[in-house]
């Protein structure tokens, strides 16, 4: 590594009873970069997210975050506290809490019961929440219960929760799935906005959406990197075309 990298996957392998979901996957993410990851079914995109966030332990390989933190040694909460936020494929927000409380819980800060039992909402937190609500376009819905939001709004709320964690790196899984065209466009806009301050990794199938992001693309296939580059480069890459069109 000549220059400092934010995230470095080094020959990561994960196998579920014989079948290799990730096969010697290596990838480098620069600080402040936004990366789109695409690939056919079972290419290992979601598994990649799982190993980075500590949900799954890799069989081999290292995952280095920042200078020298090996993520494979840590569990989910520890990794989350390092500043890696994850957004799931299906939006998982806390349905019975209000939009505002959802964000409040996500706000960076002490996570221990000792603290939360006595915690009072500080003016600073108050301000942060208002800012977030504005960012994710949910000011009106602030006091509605998350269950009542539309699908797209839930996706945004979840992104907002990631931002509230003030992470260095966001991992976002299929944000545009099941959204209307309008919502999709807005989501792309939102992500670019976010990317101004943080690094982002996005998984999605929707090429219109990926194109709208206009960032470097990594194509996964059968658990390892098939191609990397700008969208046009990817589209002319014979391997990619083969993977997508024929076998």
């Amino acid at each position: 590594m000549s220059e400092p990298t934010l995230l470095y996957l080094d020959g990561v392998t994960v196998s579920f009873d014989g079948f290799k979901a990730l096969n010697e996957l290596s990838m480098v993410l620069e600080p402040g970069e936004m990366r789109a990851v695409i690939g056919p079914n079972g290419a290992g995109k979601t598994t990649m997210m799982d190993v980075i966030t500590g949900k799954t332990r890799p069989d081999q390989g290292r995952i280095v975050f920042g200078a020298d933190i090996d993520l494979t040694k840590l569990d989910e909460p520890a990794i989350a506290r390092l500043g890696i936020g994850r957004k799931f494929q299906q939006p998982t927000v806390f349905e019975t809490l209000t939009v505002r409380d959802n964000l409040l819980l996500a706000l960076a800060g002490d996570r221990s019961p000792r603290f939360t039992l006595w915690a009072r909402e500080s003016a600073d937190e108050h301000a942060q929440l208002d800012r977030l609500l504005a960012t994710i376009r949910l000011v009106q819905e602030r006091d509605r219960r998350a269950a009542e939001l539309s699908h797209g709004q839930k996706q945004w709320l979840e992104i907002g929760m990631l931002l509230a964690q003030d992470p260095k790196l966001l991992l976002i899984d299929e944000p545009a799935a099941g959204m209307t065209d309008a919502e999709t466009a807005e989501t792309a806009e939102l992500l670019r906005e976010i990317n101004r301050t943080r690094s982002v990794v996005v998984i999605d199938h929707d090429m219109a959406f990926v194109r709208a992001l206009g960032v470097k693309i990594t194509v996964l296939d059968e658990g390892c990197v098939l191609a990397e580059g700008s969208i046009d480069a990817i589209q002319d890459n014979p391997h990619v075309i083969e993977v997508y069109l024929g076998r």
Binding site: P40, H151, K154, I234, V240, Y244, L245, R247
Partner: protein
């Protein structure tokens, strides 16, 4: 024939199918093309009643399927070769085939010889556990398993996914033969363009839960279709 009219389907709040209409005729292959996550599989789930539809109609041989549970749709003559095969891993190959017996009247509860003509390999491995077969063999088993129920509508969901070319060709031949028999409508869902093009009598292309292109094989605009399949 199968006619799907203006079907909408949601997962929770997310809108997966938007007013989709498709028809498939007996004796020919109808092909549904599209990239990952555009709603192809959702459509098949809707046809088989694995996912409830919000609005629209699904008719098969002038019969409303909308309210029927999956197993009754199977009894109405539908059969599916699902994506990823979904072989019963801890059942033997024979048992996998015999699961089809449940819906058959006693006299029909035997494995049609046709199966072994189409897939000679299976005869040799009737005793092995479904889970131990290779991907290609599993795919063949899945098709054979569907044929045990003597279907009149056969639905195949990406039968070529993750399969080596030789077997893909074989599967192609099988689909042709079945179509040629003339007593069966075949609905083929594919991303693999060449494979689909060679088989399809008519085609539908999906994008973001909608049908964006459709037509008969003759008037297919290849470049347009490809555009929807490539990245």
């Amino acid at each position: 024939m199968l006619s799907i009219e203006d079907v909408d389907l949601y997962y929770g709040a997310s809108h997966a199918l938007r007013g989709v209409s498709v028809t498939a005729r007996i004796g020919e292959v109808t092909c549904i093309l599209g990239r990952n996550g555009v709603g192809k599989t959702s459509l098949l789930r809707a046809i088989f009643g694995l996912q409830p539809i919000r609005s629209g109609h699904i008719r098969w041989e002038n019969r409303e399927l909308d309210r029927l549970p999956p197993y009754q749709r199977a009894r109405a003559g539908l059969a599916m070769v699902p994506q990823g095969r979904e072989i019963f891993p801890r059942l033997s190959v024979r048992e996998n085939l015999e699961t089809g017996f449940a819906m058959l009247p006693r006299p029909l509860r035997r494995l049609p010889d046709e199966i072994f003509e189409l897939f000679p390999v299976l005869r040799g491995m009737l005793g092995r556990r479904g889970g131990d077969l290779s991907g290609g063999q599993q795919q063949q088993l899945a098709i054979a398993r569907a044929l045990v129920t003597r279907p009149r509508l056969l639905i195949l969901d990406e039968p070529t996914e993750g399969i080596q070319p030789s077997i893909i060709k074989e599967i192609g031949r099988v689909i042709e033969r079945l179509a040629a028999r003339g007593d069966m409508a075949i609905l083929l869902v594919e991303q693999y363009f060449e494979f689909a093009r060679d088989l399809a009598a008519s085609y539908f292309v999906m994008e973001r839960g909608e049908i964006v292109l459709s037509g008969r094989r003759g008037d297919m605009d290849e470049t347009a279709v490809r555009a929807h399949l490539t990245v």
